[in-house]
Symmetry: C2
Subunit: 311 residues, 2 copies
């Protein structure tokens, strides 16, 4: 029996509530199979499209009626509730189907970041709507937003993507896991907070869900960090004639591949970096990057990419 | 030391994120004082203004851009994340200030209602925006919404307000409370779900937070149900020259007052009904209805209204 933190991408959750309900039932199937095999699962997930949708809805509504503006951390908290509800509902259903008597619940999670993180100096993560150059200038002026031109489609606000330093609710999560409960936590990488005069204050930022999941896996002393993706295996020279899928790679080699630019930033690169960090955090720990569909086979080593400590 | 389920009204949380942050710090002060005195607190809360705001933002955005429509249960789940984040953040801060080493976290909570509940036949709870008669007719036609004229201000959608039957995450919440953690649960009365072919399906409805809190208090075998309100005491003939504040009342008398129409539906009436239900659920249980500011004195019997089982 292994303890496994499973990280699910926000893109795998669809773009509407209906799509999300379908997607989570599918995900729940894979996860509950792992649970049926005796493993302990802790679930983390992304929220890119979902927090974008929530943010956009409030931005749009704030323009045309008395809806207040909704800060980014609060939008993230909403996405944790929204996605967590669907996930726990689907997992509860699939466990009941298999006669697994386990509880499942979502814990709203704040993740601490360092105020001095370099990311705050160069915000890079686009969020919310597209604006014209004039609108972008106005937002910069009025609200102090950082705006960038995004791939010819207009201007967007960018927020920093700092690294996770600590998980505020880690002890709660840990004792729930020790009790045998399936916990959904760190949704969207967690609500980013900084420590300030003895309190945690939410900041407009996005913590990469791969790094937050890695932090969670370390805190929970997990055996495996499993980062689900859309392809069967991580590949070198992805989408070229020289594409070469990776079955198992040690952290030194993996780091080399990262430096050689084999992995796309915002996609496979953070997954590989989080995998490396976890694999070298303590002897015996491994990271796995299989496809969502083949999570079970990934754990057995039949598919996916395994990232292991060097010998 | 007593175990106390505290129910906080959504109206006490303000109408904007900024107002809510202020409000919860104030609430946290009162609660943490009770904890400092050795009591176990479980926190439930309403979400009327907040879920209304979220629902409205999505309705508005869905009209003017590609934002999907957001079903009512999903809006409720978002409100649990949004309010829970602020509450746990403020409570964590206040506990740290007083050197109380306790964990605090929000659990996303689904509450089961009966498909056959009479409330589904006569939806009564207004939600979301105001519409013209023509718009209301169109929504009735297109989406099957029930619409009513609301106090001369236009037409609004009404959803049913069924009674809570069960709390899906009760075992998780219970074991967290047993571990000494401060849990925030059943936000907005819980996400309403019905049981259907072995799964829980979200339904557009609003469960009264007073009844959900009462159910939670019974499940957790609490000693007290404390329903916070805006006035110092429940009163007979409220806001008339004959106003008479109630200090202590037994369930028989309380029921009589309810029948005599002393308490406003949607305001003090559900609080009294939930209080009666809890006080008579088991010998020794009491319900308290003090003001938010005087929660501590309410527990000591120095203020508020006490509802006790008859002799």
């Amino acid at each position: 029996m292994a303890r496994i933190v499973v990280a699910l991408g926000g893109n795998a959750l669809g773009n509407t509530p209906g799509e999300q309900i379908e997607a989570v039932r599918h995900t729940a199937d894979s996860l509950v199979e792992l649970i049926g095999n005796g493993h302990e699962i802790i679930m983390a997930h992304g929220n890119g499209p979902q927090v974008g949708m929530i943010n956009l809805a409030f931005e749009t509504a704030a323009q045309s009626d008395e809806t207040p503006e909704m800060p980014f951390p609060e939008c993230g908290a909403m996405s944790q509730g929204y996605i967590g509800y669907h996930l726990q509902n689907a997992i509860q259903e699939k466990m009941a189907e298999r006669g697994i008597a386990k509880n499942c619940a979502t814990v709203i999670t704040q993740v601490v970041v360092d105020k001095e993180d370099q990311a705050f100096k160069s915000p890079s993560k686009p969020v919310g709507s597209f604006y014209s150059r004039e609108e972008a200038e106005a937002l910069k002026e009025e609200k102090g937003y950082q705006m960038v031109e995004d791939a010819g489609r207009g201007y967007r606000r960018v927020v920093p993507s700092p690294l996770p330093v600590d998980i505020v609710e880690k002890d709660v999560i840990s004792s729930m896991v020790d009790k045998g409960e399936l916990v959904i936590a760190c949704g969207g990488g967690g609500i980013p907070v900084v420590e300030e005069q003895g309190r945690y204050r939410g900041v407009p930022a996005v913590i990469d869900k791969d790094f937050a999941s890695e932090k969670l896996a370390e805190e929970l002393e997990a055996d495996f960090l499993m980062i689900l993706t859309a392809v069967d295996r991580v590949a070198l020279n992805f989408a070229t004639p020289e594409e070469e899928p990776l079955t198992e790679v040690d952290v030194e080699k993996a780091r080399e591949y990262c430096e050689q630019g084999h992995f796309a930033p915002g996609s496979m690169l953070p997954k590989m970096k989080a995998a490396i960090k976890f694999a070298e955090s303590r002897p015996g720990r491994e990271a796995l990057i299989p496809s969502l569909e083949k999570a079970r086979d990934g754990l057995k080593g039949q598919t996916g990419t395994r990232i292991v400590a060097g010998s």
